[in-house]
Amino acid sequence: MKKMDIRNKTYGDVLVLSPEGRIDHANSEEFRQSLNPLVERCSAKGERLVLDLAGVDYVSSAGLRCFMLAEKQAKSQGGTIVVAAMQPVVNEIFEISRFTLVFETFATVRDALAKVSPAALKAYDAA
């Protein structure tokens, strides 16, 4: 299975993942395969994870399921995933599908880092 490129960058103890484009039935499995090893780094003692969705213009139910699987995996490892910078359409899809009940969401990556880790925020601002 081909993997999807997910841009990622570390700020302090937080890993920021920035997928791009559509995540739908056609590529959700590729997205999941790419996401898995990155989520493995997310744990109580490891990194926290911010999903930066600024570059994602659509998420289907299959894509949302990938987010759910990632959240379950992170939770089982004692980690946390939050979502940031959603485009308005994706934000509405999150609300309608009730995914906002599981994922804490933030308007910007900076807002997310401010909540998740002061050290990461400092690194972000310095970058």
């Binding site: 139910s61 299959a62 949302l64 399921r65 509405e92 309608i96 599908s97 599981v102």
Partner: protein, 319 residues
């Protein structure tokens, strides 16, 4: 072709409580005061145009039962949830001196909420009435007999006066029932369930309840899209939110409004009817789910507009 809903709630029948009715009255009167309703004429207009459905009506509480008008003397109905009691009473009220009624039943599965109305189905007690119960489960007859056996019910199945026949169907085959071409399809549900595609006079209705759609299997999704292809109406199990369907209620055998829209769009469906409502949802919540689903369709539309409604007991759809 006309489709009539006698029962639309999932899992267990529900009824409005006194508190629910008081809440509706309070909402209606509060709105009326705000709109300055001070004459009978304004009141009529207000009720017709200003009150939302969830205040002026109720989605109702009977478990699944959906009639497809046949254009003939015989009847066709999907499932025998608690809604079938009112359907039976309607048949009885129309009886004249003609021959006893012929009723064709199509069963999605035999879970209790889909058979519980049968012991109260008046035509079952009419000598000469013919009831043909079609389904794909080999335990079809057993389930109907079991729920009427002691100590669960006072009238044993063997004492029913109607001529009752069980007709075994197979998924993937095609049948002629009451003038409809009927095609069953296996669905994912505990103990299996079956969806049915009905075709007649160029119109297509799909009855697909108690069906969970696993999103990780594109082949399965495509299969259902073909089953729904170009339907004029798809009656769809939208019991859960997508979040619940892929988390705490995964493998509980039901689907979501989001997946319903996506599949309907994939299949070029004209009208998606949300069905098998969650019994924990009140009228406000179901209306809110409907409005969100309409919004989701608009956000994701790429082709023709998909009409979306939420089924309620007593609703009729003309195709």
């Amino acid at each position: 072709m006309r489709v009539r809903f006698w029962g639309t709630r999932g899992s267990i029948p529900v009824a409005l409580t006194s508190a629910d009715i008081r809440h509706k009255i309070e909402q209606a009167l509060t709105l009326a005061i705000a709109r300055g309703v001070d004459s009978p004429q304004k009141l009529q207009n207000f009720i017709e145009h200003d009150l939302g459905f969830s205040i002026s009506h109720t989605y109702g509480g009977h478990s699944p039962c959906v009639q497809l008008e046949t254009g003939r003397a015989e009847y066709l109905v999907c499932d025998m949830g608690s809604g079938v009691r009112a359907f039976g009473n309607s048949i009885m009220s129309r009886r004249d001196d003609g021959p006893p009624p012929v009723i064709n039943v199509i069963m999605s599965h035999v879970h209790w909420d889909h058979i519980m109305g049968f012991p109260f189905f008046a035509p079952a007690y009419v000598p000469g009435a013919r009831i043909r119960i079609h389904g794909c489960h080999d335990v079809l007859e057993q389930a109907f007999r079991l729920q009427q056996s002691a100590p669960c019910f006072p009238v044993d199945f063997s004492r029913l006066a109607a001529d009752i026949e069980f007709v075994q169907l197979k998924a993937g085959a095609s049948y002629d029932v009451a003038g409809f071409k009927v095609m069953p399809k296996l669905q994912r549900h505990t103990g299996d369930s079956y969806g049915y595609r009905f075709e007649r006079d160029g119109k297509i209705v799909v009855y697909s309840t108690d069906s969970e759609h696993k999103l990780e299997d594109p082949g399965e999704t495509r299969g259902f899209a073909e089953f729904f292809r170009n339907a004029d109406l798809v009656i769809f199990d939208a019991m859960y939110s997508l979040l619940d369907a892929v988390s705490v209620k995964e493998d509980w055998g039901h689907s979501s409004n989001i997946v319903g829209v996506e599949m309907a769009q994939m299949a070029n469906v004209k009208h998606l009817c949300l069905f098998h409502h969650e019994p924990a949802f009140d009228d406000d919540r179901i209306e809110s789910v409907l409005n969100e689903t309409i919004r989701f369709e608009k956000l994701t539309r790429t082709g023709q507009t998909l009409k979306i409604t939420a089924a309620y007991d007593g609703m009729e759809i003309e195709l």
